[in-house]
């Protein structure tokens, strides 16, 4: 295409010279264009060698699409627990169905579809809730309950060792709250915690 600019040599004795000159010039321009594009892309001055996807827990609205829209099955999104935020409630809004008649671990009382949320008595009225990551599908049902009625200690996060770091994250695209963003790989988790306490 770029050779198309000339049609035939003017001087018969230097046909190669001119064509080669034009070709070299065009090649130089192509290299400059590619280099210029790269320089423009570096304007942001990103120092990290890589970025990873994370959910901003404060923006998440628990729509449930993380479970279904991730390219992985089960999703790389799991429920995680900020223990210092948890109230250790006996009636946990993340663990029990809203209309649960008895506060037992019977399946009909549990909100979690896969039984990934585990309940253990600690002392007095306090119960500890932990997540079996292998069972969790990232549907966010427990997160919704905990965020709406509890302290919001349960939240969804993209697990760094599971995420394949797609160049276009499918759940970031489908997220209605635009809660999924790229973060620096040096600080790969956006964690919830009490403002005064260090994040767990």
């Amino acid at each position: 295409m770029s050779e198309g600019a000339t049609s035939g040599p003017a001087a018969p004795e230097t046909p190669i010279g001119r064509r080669r000159f034009l070709r070299r010039g065009a090649a130089g321009l192509a290299a400059l264009a590619a280099g210029g594009l790269c320089a423009a892309a570096r304007r942001g001055g990103q120092r990290e060698p890589a970025l990873v996807w994370q959910i901003d827990p404060d923006k998440c609205v628990q729509c449930g699409q993380c479970a279904t829209h991730c390219v992985l099955n089960p999703s790389a999104v799991k429920c995680v627990h900020a223990f210092p935020v948890c109230g250790y409630c006996k009636r946990c809004f993340g663990y029990f169905q809203p209309d649960a008649e008895r506060l037992t671990s019977a399946a009909e009382n549990q909100l979690c579809p896969t039984g990934a949320l585990r309940r253990r008595h600690v002392e007095g009225f306090y119960y500890e809730y932990t997540i079996d990551e292998d069972l969790c599908v990232g549907c966010g049902k427990c997160v919704k309950g905990c965020t709406m009625y509890g302290n919001g200690s349960l939240y969804l996060q993209i697990m760094g060792h599971r995420c394949v770091n797609c160049n276009e994250c499918a759940i970031a695209r489908s997220c209605p709250a635009d809660a999924i963003q790229r973060v620096r790989v040096a600080r790969p988790y956006l964690l919830k915690g009490r403002p005064e306490a260090p994040s767990t």
Binding site: S153, N167, A177
Partner: protein, 434 residues
């Protein structure tokens, strides 16, 4: 507002936000444990260390060097095939297809157009640039044995059929359209179309939407007969590589030394990239020149037509952007055209942003798509125009040669050339008559 009033208002706002922030955490007070209970330690397994991204860049550089050496110096098809298998294993199945040079094009464009939204890391920029510069030096050896998308199709070639040249040429224009569209959408910050519709990455991850996996399987099945359909008729990065390859400093040749016009290589290329010597021009030079100039004179009209079409297509294309799609959906819901509220519109309503604000943002995106659409359209007009002019230009091939822009440097033609067999016998130490 007076200064003390402003300070009081700010203080009130700060208290209010603190209270709002605290309320979610303190509906139930933090327990005071008496039995010495300690909080479990959260398990947050780390992602792949960022430094390993440099390993990918190093492997890419090494693979490009090896592919160029195998294609130009060693002239070894088996070597290129094995390197292709390695690239398929490493960049494909091990690294799961991301980040690849084909997709990194969009990272570079997004970072160039919206530095406030996304700043491209060095490895992403290098993964985009290295194959381009390598192609500028040695031809499309990246396509031959480094690109995992090419490699997975390359192993599927069993019975390649010859695509008629007119069809090959016409289908070869699709990548330009895909490139223009993907560049527009990436620059607008509306997503990475090339990654979204990558047909093979689902195999690498062994997971993905069913229709993408089906499309990938379909392309591989088609690829049994139509060699490398994605590379030839879809790949947008291939357009850039084709430009670089046309201007490349060195390029693989069919014959190691001289062409003896035996035509044995004629049918060896599964991609239809081998061109015969140019026929003597059928018309005298002034007539040819007039025809070429006549065609070139149509370029401005093509540019204008492309720009107009792109401008008109800008608004519908802008729906690819979620911001525009959501505003549109909200409007339709308010007008009663949609009976069920969408997840996104519900969320946007709950977030309590004014509709005017959303509309302003959406209009800005539409304006960008109109302007960008006009630019993309005129680019496509220019491409068509230059293709037309190219038909009128006399060829300069004296031998059977690969068409530089289309040749994937795969090396399949080498052993079809009798001169190559002479070269190899000589390398083995035999005396061969010239």
């Amino acid at each position: 507002m007076t200064k003390p009033a402003l300070i009081i208002a700010l203080a009130l706002a700060a208290v209010a936000s603190l209270a709002a922030g605290a309320s979610t955490y303190d509906r139930f007070p933090q327990p005071k444990f008496e039995t010495g209970y300690e909080y479990p330690v959260g398990q947050y397994p780390l992602p792949r260390p960022g430094g390993l991204q440099w390993l990918d860049v190093a492997v890419l550089t090494g693979a490009l060097g090896a592919a160029s050496w195998l294609a130009l110096r060693a002239r070894s098809r088996p070597g290129l095939f094995l390197l292709g298998i390695f690239s398929l294993a490493y960049f494909g199945f091990w690294r799961k297809g991301c980040l690849c040079p084909v997709g990194s094009m969009q990272n570079v464009l997004l970072a160039a157009f919206r530095p406030s939204e996304y700043a491209a890391p060095w490895p992403a920029v290098l993964i985009f640039a290295l194959p381009l510069f390598s192609t500028l030096l040695f031809g499309r050896t990246f396509c031959a044995a480094v690109c995992p998308l090419g490699a997975i199709q390359d192993v599927a070639i069993v019975r390649p059929v010859r695509v008629p040249p007119w069809l090959n040429r016409a289908l070869g224009l699709i990548p330009y359209v895909y490139l223009a569209l993907a560049a527009l959408v990436a620059a607008a910050g509306a997503g990475f179309l090339v990654c979204r519709y990558d047909p093979f990455v689902g195999f690498f991850r062994r997971a993905g939407p069913a229709w993408i996996l089906a499309t990938g399987g379909g392309l591989l099945a088609l690829g049994i007969f139509v060699a490398r359909p994605y590379c030839r008729y879809l790949c947008p990065y291939g357009v850039l590589l084709g430009w670089m390859s046309r201007l490349s400093w060195r390029h693989p040749r069919i014959t190691p030394d001289e062409c003896i016009q035996c035509r044995l290589c004629e049918t060896s290329c599964p991609f239809g990239a081998i061109r015969p010597p140019s026929p003597a021009p059928a018309e005298p030079r002034p007539a040819r020149r007039r025809r070429a100039l006549g065609l070139a004179a149509r370029i401005p009209a093509l540019l204008a037509a492309g720009a107009a079409a792109g401008w008109l297509a800008g608004e519908p294309l802008a729906r690819l952007d979620e911001r525009v799609a959501t505003t549109d959906r909200l409007r339709r819901e308010d007008a009663g055209l949609e009976t069920v509220a969408g997840v996104r519109s519900q969320t946007v309503r709950a977030a309590d942003r004014s509709f005017a604000d959303l509309l302003a943002e959406s209009d800005a995106v539409v304006r960008f798509f109109r302007r960008g659409g006009a630019a993309a359209g005129s680019f496509l007009g220019l491409v068509v125009g230059l293709h037309l002019v190219g038909t009128a230009l006399p060829g300069r091939r004296r031998d059977w040669e690969p068409a530089r822009a289309l040749c994937l440097s795969c090396g399949r033609c080498y052993t079809y050339c009798p001169r190559e067999h002479v070269r190899r016998r000589r390398l083995e130490g035999f005396e061969v008559e010239p």
